[in-house]
């Protein structure tokens, strides 16, 4: 018997829920990942990966799904960002060993505000970066608290602390602001 002929495990109802949730949240999830990783193509790949993980994670269904999707998407994005920056550091090190003249594009990108912000985000704790990103994506304090599984009473303090951490790290890297 061909194993491919075995029916898939998910029930029809599960498929319907997946389709509905995907259609409703995919654009927002892709955009929040794009904030972190920059490249829209890569953001869409990670958004799809987020939904596939959600589908495999059978315990999270119904009203818990959006928060789980946001949390996982931001974490995947931040992991990708850190990978990118490790790679960039390695490439800079290699370039230092085999120096080549900087192109105008290099100079422009080094000064790019988005690169600075992403660099600082990658240096923050993952939870602090996630709080700032979800807040920047327009989620209310309550929605951020649900997505990050945090106490609603302390979410304001935590976001404020994350902002201070961001400002401190930014100032340390790029001078007083």
């Amino acid at each position: 018997m061909d194993a491919d002929a075995i029916p898939i495990l998910a029930a029809v109802d599960g498929d319907a829920e997946f389709d509905a949730t995907f259609t409703a949240y995919y654009p927002r999830i892709a955009r929040v990942v794009a904030r972190v990783v920059g490249d829209p193509g890569r953001a869409e790949e990670l958004a799809v990966e987020t939904f596939l993980r959600w589908w495999r994670h059978r315990a999270v269904r119904g009203s818990d799904a959006p928060g789980w999707l946001y949390r996982t998407a931001v974490r995947l994005g931040l992991d990708e960002l850190r990978r990118q920056q490790r790679r960039a550091r390695y490439e800079r090190l290699m370039a230092a060993l085999q120096p080549v003249p900087a192109t105008p594009q290099d100079v422009h990108e080094a000064d790019d505000e988005r690169r600075r912000v992403r660099f600082v985000l990658a240096r923050l704790r993952r939870r602090e970066a996630a709080l700032l990103l979800l807040r920047a994506d327009g989620l209310s304090y309550e929605e951020v608290a649900v997505a990050m599984k945090l106490n609603q009473a302390s979410i304001g303090t935590l976001i404020s602390r994350a902002q201070r951490a961001f400002r401190t790290e930014y100032s340390r890297r790029y001078g007083t602001v």
């Binding site: 995919y26 654009p27 958004a47 596939l52």
Partner: protein, 246 residues
């Protein structure tokens, strides 16, 4: 002041993070991705199912054949034995680790539970003092050296009571409680007493001389046996401090 400062920080950070907002012209399309995602889900489910079948088949085969089942049982018992041995090695620094758990009268053996009966005829059991260090002192009213060390045992019990020490005087008087009770009152024995029969003394190695004293640790194992007086011309034979952890 604090509030206005917080707002300044908010807006500054928000401005920085706003730089990350994706291009408005980019609209991620769920409908364009849905077909691909569902194809990946189907493939994922098939792959998972294949893995389950691949993992279950050898197990089912092994369970269904008597030979492999017996080999499995042997393997399991060998694992249990190895684990048990490893546990013993792990506890090798503990005194008497790995010693048999049947009662005996040698050092490291579990001490016999039964110590005799009290004045009311109720059994006196070592297990009712489990968790405490117990000095079991075999004695008799007609034994002068035994009488000599009664004040010492009273003092030991009083001094180490907080640390969990108990002293039990096990008499082997043939006249029974009619001899022991008035003697104990006259000598002001503070610690509990028991009257032993031959079963008790033989379980403790056949007490052949008096006094004979056993020190039992908190786990019920014999850690010291002293035949004769606790203090003689060689000094104090009792090593209670190390057993009690002081």
């Amino acid at each position: 002041m604090a509030q206005s400062e917080r707002i300044v920080v908010d807006s500054w950070v928000d401005t920085r993070l706003a730089a990350l907002t994706p291009d408005r012209t980019w609209e991620p399309s769920a409908s364009a991705q849905l077909a691909e995602v569902n194809a990946r889900r189907t493939a994922d489910a098939s792959r998972r199912r294949r893995w389950m079948v691949a993992a279950a088949a050898p197990v089912m085969l092994a369970v269904s054949l008597p030979g492999t089942r017996a080999a499995g049982a042997r393997c399991l018992s060998a694992c249990v034995a190895v684990t048990s041995r490893a546990t013993q090695l792990w506890r090798a620094d503990e005194p008497f680790a790995g010693r048999p758990s049947a009662p005996g009268s040698a050092l490291g053996d579990l001490a016999s539970d039964m110590l005799g009966t009290d004045a009311q005829g109720a059994p006196v059991r070592l297990s009712s003092f489990r968790g405490r260090v117990v000095i079991v002192n075999f004695w008799a009213t007609w034994c002068p050296p035994c009488r000599t060390e009664i004040p010492r045992l009273n003092a030991l019990r009083s001094r180490y009571a907080q640390d969990g020490l108990e002293v039990i005087g096990v008499s082997i008087d043939e006249d029974g409680w009619s001899a022991v009770t008035p003697f104990a009152a006259a000598q002001e024995i503070d610690y509990p007493l028991a009257l032993a029969n031959e079963d008790v003394t033989s379980a403790y190695g056949g007490v052949t001389a008096l006094p004979t004293t056993f020190v039992i640790d908190r786990d019920g194992r014999i850690v010291q046996k002293i035949v004769g007086q606790l203090i003689d011309e060689k000094g104090d034979a009792l090593q209670i401090g190390s057993v009690i952890g002081r």
